[in-house]
Homo-oligomer: 281 residues x 3
Amino acid sequence: MAFRTARNLAYFSNYIRNYSTNGPLVNVTVNEKSGFATATLQRPSVNSLNLELLTEISHTLQQLEKNKCRGLILTSASNKVFSAGLDLFELHKPNADKIKQMWSTLQEVWIKLYGSSYPTVAVVNGHAPAGGCMLALSCEYRVMLNNFIIGLNEAQIGFSAPMWLIDGMRNTIGSRQAEFALTAGTLFKTEEALKIGLVDEVAQSKEEAIEKAEKFLNKFAKIPPHARSMTKAALRGANIQALVRNKDEEVRSYVDFVTDSQFQDSLGEFIELNLKQKLSK
Amino acid sequence: MAFRTARNLAYFSNYIRNYSTNGPLVNVTVNEKSGFATATLQRPSVNSLNLELLTEISHTLQQLEKNKCRGLILTSASNKVFSAGLDLFELHKPNADKIKQMWSTLQEVWIKLYGSSYPTVAVVNGHAPAGGCMLALSCEYRVMLNNFIIGLNEAQIGFSAPMWLIDGMRNTIGSRQAEFALTAGTLFKTEEALKIGLVDEVAQSKEEAIEKAEKFLNKFAKIPPHARSMTKAALRGANIQALVRNKDEEVRSYVDFVTDSQFQDSLGEFIELNLKQKLSK
Amino acid sequence: MAFRTARNLAYFSNYIRNYSTNGPLVNVTVNEKSGFATATLQRPSVNSLNLELLTEISHTLQQLEKNKCRGLILTSASNKVFSAGLDLFELHKPNADKIKQMWSTLQEVWIKLYGSSYPTVAVVNGHAPAGGCMLALSCEYRVMLNNFIIGLNEAQIGFSAPMWLIDGMRNTIGSRQAEFALTAGTLFKTEEALKIGLVDEVAQSKEEAIEKAEKFLNKFAKIPPHARSMTKAALRGANIQALVRNKDEEVRSYVDFVTDSQFQDSLGEFIELNLKQKLSK
């Protein structure tokens, strides 16, 4: 297990440093003592998920997997927004080919993060609507700061969250709450999110949130990593396989939907009425 | 969207009025301001689901779908019984062909109500055993008056709720509570039903219940209807498709079961011992 | 229904008595008044599930099914350990053919107990890690004595609980809690297990636990047994069928896994560090 020796940790740490230089939208650091990586999203201004950021997240996850990461903390460089979700400006009057790549990369991010062999925590240190909530949900644990919002508000924007994300929501907060939340496109305040189980803990500062995240990761210190990853694969594998089987079909269907004028009208209206307002709160 | 213009609302309202004249077992009114329809079951004396009532409910749901209903409140004209469920007197010493049509129409009602594109609320203003509970469960929200009972008591009557109804129960109250409730055929009092999540709110009067139902429906006022219905289809589609695939097979199996002497004996006993007593409470 | 006449009860009771003489690892008694059977595991010292005990449990369940048992209470003759789970000493440096038979018989025990036509209660009167928790989970109700531990700690031992057991855990405590519990291999104290729903009631003595178990079984006194078993089959059938389809494949995969040196190393370490300590608490 490469990660368990100081030499390999150092190697990995260097590797990540080089990699971060090439791709500045995600900053990855590794705590050499614990072996935990922290991946910080830092695409100005609100970590909107465009193709470049999604590709870099996907690449980061692949490197962490390859280097036998012992645990990941996913967080944001902004102190206002964890991630604003899919870059709606790129979905508006889009290039169909770019939409295709975006959606396909979004699927890859879910597959790699939801299905990672290592334990994962989201430190939600800002708003997390739609794709931001998706990133948080794909982790195993969520610590959130006060006075932010989180939720799958896709219905408000004019479309439906994909099946794998709906399943992720259901597995987290249960079928009943998921139906309420998804049909209304609800954005929950931190305390509400805690109450329904959409987040696991609340912290008063990013430092406190990181501590809580590390405490969660440390729970697994004595579990043989291969047994833990087998167990996680057994728990999450069926959902991932369902997406893998349906990947291309789903991409086609989303591209058709997004490029349709009905959605474009809804989206245009949503951007006008809500977007800047929501994100500037 | 037909429903959004006054002209079309009036047309729909007239249409329903004519339709109601032809089939007096369900009374449908439309609030022209909100666009919400209220369907009131009014088959004397306890809204037992016989073939005629089931057919009329199914027809009503189809018309609401066609006319782009903005929301449905399902309730009862009785102040004692929401619906007593399948008409057990028709299941007792039955005509096999009628049973076949009844079950097939019951499936249609579930498919149309559970899968409706518009939001739905049951105002449970009376007892709701078995098929009565099924109607309530197929809505998205349940407001119930005090001092009544609701539940899937099929096991008490001598058979099993069908798979789609079991799934509906599980999605509402969770697997654990559903197993308890279904194996014991439990009928819950209003307050117990609220506690386990089988109903969402309690009201002191039908008027208050209708207000709460409208408040629920109004939550979706700003959600684009096509996005909401896509989301609902994603959430509920798998269960509906499972029934659609198994529809004929299930009809055959229920007809065989119901016409068998073992069930007929159980049913005869149940009718003697419980039925009038339960419903006259 | 054989069980309902005194003559047949006596016959069954005798039969079981003879059977128990042949297989002394499970003691079965039948309360002639209630028709409830009590199966007491009595393999010294901690009811570790070796091939012999698993075979006898499987045989017992088959006889109970054949003789139309009205309800089963599963408990332990030890006042410290309900069951310590799979006999890890037999998994350590194993005979591959014996492992194959053990796993296959474990599957049979699950299929027969989880899918029994009669209602089942575990009186957990001692520690119940791993396979001990599995036996408890496969019942419909769990009454546990204070100051013991229960849970699926397979990840700690170095492997993953099988899919059917994961599903059993999810159906009992929900997806979210199941993921936490399984990835950490958590062993819960009695009060914690009650809180998350892993057990249903706590008792202060075995006598009180048996009373509570009988009270649970008596809830079904007026439910026609065939309707109850149909309902249970509808609720649990899909999970059982999934295992039946995958039975041989799973056996092969577990034998390969268990005989691999990586698992043997983990297991050796676990036995050294934890086993005697945990069980002697």
